[in-house]
Subunit: 304 residues, 4 copies
């Protein structure tokens, strides 16, 4: 498959969308990003790389980092993790408290904020230095020891984190947070602040595209079956209340973040990372979504 | 792949579950079915068939028939269909009115009852004889001209259809039903009453597993891309509030019905139908779900 | 107290509001009413009457008739009535299905549509000719044998009653409707279609202002304590999601209808009926509400 | 009216209920209270006092203190207060987050926790020493300079206040908390920790029963009309999701607290305080509710 040619074609086709949407601006560090950027990178399991645009510019992973958190949590707790959260699509915005109250503090899935905060609690509880363990995993997966947190972003987010603090307190009220709320949230925001470029992110997700071999990185291990199940969760829960739309238009498991990034995998074939800061009303990158739709349409390859 | 051997192994492994769950009994015709039945059939795109158990016993398709309705609706209306309903997982039970009221009469997806009733309205409006067109499609897909409605089931269901009548009236209130409510519901219950055996159903779903060629049956046409998108909707919305669980454990697009049947596809490879009347609390067949989980686990084949 | 002088003063003070709000127009008969009308009438327990404006023009009682239905239901069923509905304010619009589904078909109170439909079912079940019994009560309370239903209004409403039909079906699904849905709704809409003038309505409500003697009209009997409790329910539930506002601004038990009427009582002193067709966003008469606020403010008399 | 005789009769009649319900035990100080206590005190506007049982034992006012907070907030902000909260019954439990999220951080009324936290924020913002001002008002109203906070109770509650912290953060997220969350909650829990006996509490509420004269205590002033409107809010919102029941059975404006106290007023006549620690499922005192129901039934006096 001539992916490079497809990427060139995508670049032309998304041009009309370049002013649509609005980047996240709830903290200064995200508001300061030049919104007129777009990059994409594909890594295939047989060792090729295809990239275009601003594929080497690091950006804030935000919710994409929840995939790494789930990797660690599943590796440490196995299916016991599902005692503390579900794996069903939420059908609501990522930060809603309503469902969490109705379901007595059991988050619908690991990728809404409530679920990721419970995972952060589990990691803080189980690991002596969760921040170090998390960054080690990210570095190992991406093959880039230089990857790091953006402490300024983590600090800023924590400072205005009223909604996530509300969620964490509601979880604690229902007994689904073991540790200290502030400690858990500090780690949660550190995870979200990690930065990668499309090139690094595509490389990091190659491990999830490889569904035939066990996963073994930075001390975290998953069976091949567990890797496939992580893909299943990305598929049904990776895009908040736009999961169905992404599944319909793109047809790949993936995860988005408000930094404008999206990572996805075509199991057995490739991983892809795309980035563009302008978001639609649901909080997903406008040009990122369109790029992936065009990729699976033009390559005629999707999981369906 | 030696599917026949896998089916034999599945039969042994599900044995302990044979008394779990409870068949649908809200109408006499469903309550009268012998619950201790189990059948399965796989049809591969390269022309093989593998079956076991009560694979030739006809059962009531119920919600599985919504897949055929979506085929017809997409063929007739194309993406205009999405003006009248969404394609997001509902996160709630199949017959909930709450979400429908909050979202002003626009059903979350085609596979909850509200969505299927809107599709029924569209088909009643567009087709001179929707009942005939629907049965023609079912017969053509299954290759069995003998397939038919069970009029007694349709009549019984219509007689106790308070919740679906409530849904239809709420849809009409919001302007999302064009036709006469009774007429639309009559067709809706006729669709649900259709009966097939696992063998017939697997054959009928082979058309959705075939994602490389356009779909053209009984006058209804879909592009290959549309077929893939139907699979995407089955994947995210096919199992009500257990869609995530099915995706996690099985990893195939599919659709279940309260008659105890489940049909699923492994795109590019095979279709499968399984049937066993005892249902779990979410309304999905206990042994059916387990059979498909074992199938993808033992074959190590899923979309992820 | 010089009520006549207060009424004159009210007429001057509400003048600026005369173009605010919008009359109900979901059926032709209501849409055809001249919206620029306003009438008010006070009946005191010591036998005086004070009136002003269009106090003799009959209008459609609509939801105000639910007070008469509650009178009959309490008289027939006593506190058993509360097995089938609550007596708590709903906090939602009068026609919401959400709460009803969450609370498994038990309406929050008798004055939301769901509660009134359950009362209609009870009356249809217990009375051989509920329409006759209802109109007898209305005639006896108002002292006007000429009072009657508006059949055209009842028929029109029934014809577009998608939401109320949805409610009735949801009630039936939960086993909270015994009779035939169409029969129950026919009676429900007949009740709502009854017409009175302010003068007649004030007279009819005098029986509820009289909290010292048992109620005994047209064969329906309530103890003095039951009359007081009916006032309590009017106080907390009589104005849908504006009950608190009415309590705060007016401070009298009362009931409004989309025909633009409001009836209220000052227990031990007087009853009052006011009418003006233009409604606010909550479905209550703009000038009616203001008139009553001015009445209790200027007379310095309220239950608080 | 021979209230003393009625109180004696009440004491006999509630005897069978003495083991029903369960006292609040979420903090040690409340769990340690002897649950088998009951006291009642009536203060009439013409200067008589009637009491019985443990009427001199101080107890934790908890939510009853919200009435004093509303007094201060209305005095300071007037009707501007309603920009920040509603005055409608909530129809839900006192600590629900669902409604608050749906209504974008505007609490339904001043007496649910969210509303009281917003009032606490307003008082912290407007007063240089809100704790002092609050206790001054309580001392002035009760005529007892010895009345005080229970610091241990305030500290304990703050320590386990996950749900209220969630509420406060959600309010802050929606911009409806101006000050520092911890500061606001510290004051909120101080208010709740205040202790009074029935005798002191009845005396304090006499000011609300007096609806003919302006309110002027400890520097806080309300018009007679505002006092009546406070009673209206107690009537519709004073008992969480049991407001309708209280209105129906008792028929007086009042306010309950999880300490087991209830204060109520019969405007123009008397105030009453009753206390008994065992609570029903809604968080209201079992014997307290029954005592007040018997009081208005036997005296045949209520606002209706």
């Amino acid at each position: 498959m001539n992916y490079q040619q497809i990427l060139e074609s995508i670049r032309r086709d998304i041009e009309p969308l370049k002013c649509e949407g609005k980047q996240a601006d709830y903290i200064p560090a995200l508001a300061a990003v030049d919104p007129d950027q777009w990059g994409i990178c594909i890594d295939t399991l047989d060792g090729h790389q295809y990239k275009l645009g601003d594929a080497n510019v690091p950006f804030s992973l935000q919710s994409i980092s929840k995939v790494f958190a789930l990797t660690m949590a599943l590796s440490l707790a196995g299916d016991d993790l599902w005692q503390r959260m579900g794996k069903e699509p939420s059908g609501t915005a990522f930060n809603s408290l309503i469902q969490l109250e109705l379901e007595h503090g059991k988050p619908r899935n690991p990728f809404i904020n409530a679920g990721a905060i419970v995972m952060a609690d589990l990691l803080v509880e189980r690991l002596s230095n969760p921040e170090q363990a998390f960054i080690n995993l990210a570095r190992d997966l991406s093959g880039q020891p230089s990857i790091d947190y953006n402490f300024e972003v983590a600090r800023s987010e924590h400072g205005v984190a009223y909604l996530n603090t509300a969620i964490a307190n509601l979880l604690k009220y229902h007994g689904n947070i073991v540790g200290d709320i502030d400690r858990v949230l500090r780690f949660y925001f550190m995870m979200c602040s990690i930065e990668m470029s499309c090139e690094q992110l595509a490389h990091a997700f190659l491990a999830f595209a490889n569904h035939r071999e066990p996963f073994d990185h930075a001390g975290f291990r998953l069976t091949a079956s567990q890797v496939k199940r992580m893909n299943a969760i990305m598929q049904t829960c990776g895009f908040y209340d736009e999961a169905g739309e992404f599944s319909y238009l793109v047809g790949l498991p993936g995860k988005s973040g408000v930094g404008g990034g999206i990572a996805a995998v075509f199991p057995g074939q490739y991983s892809v990372a795309v980035w563009s800061p302008r978001l639609n009303a649901k909080g997903n990158s406008v040009m990122g979504l369109k790029s992936l739709e065009l990729l699976t349409t033009q390559s005629r390859q999707s999981i369906f």
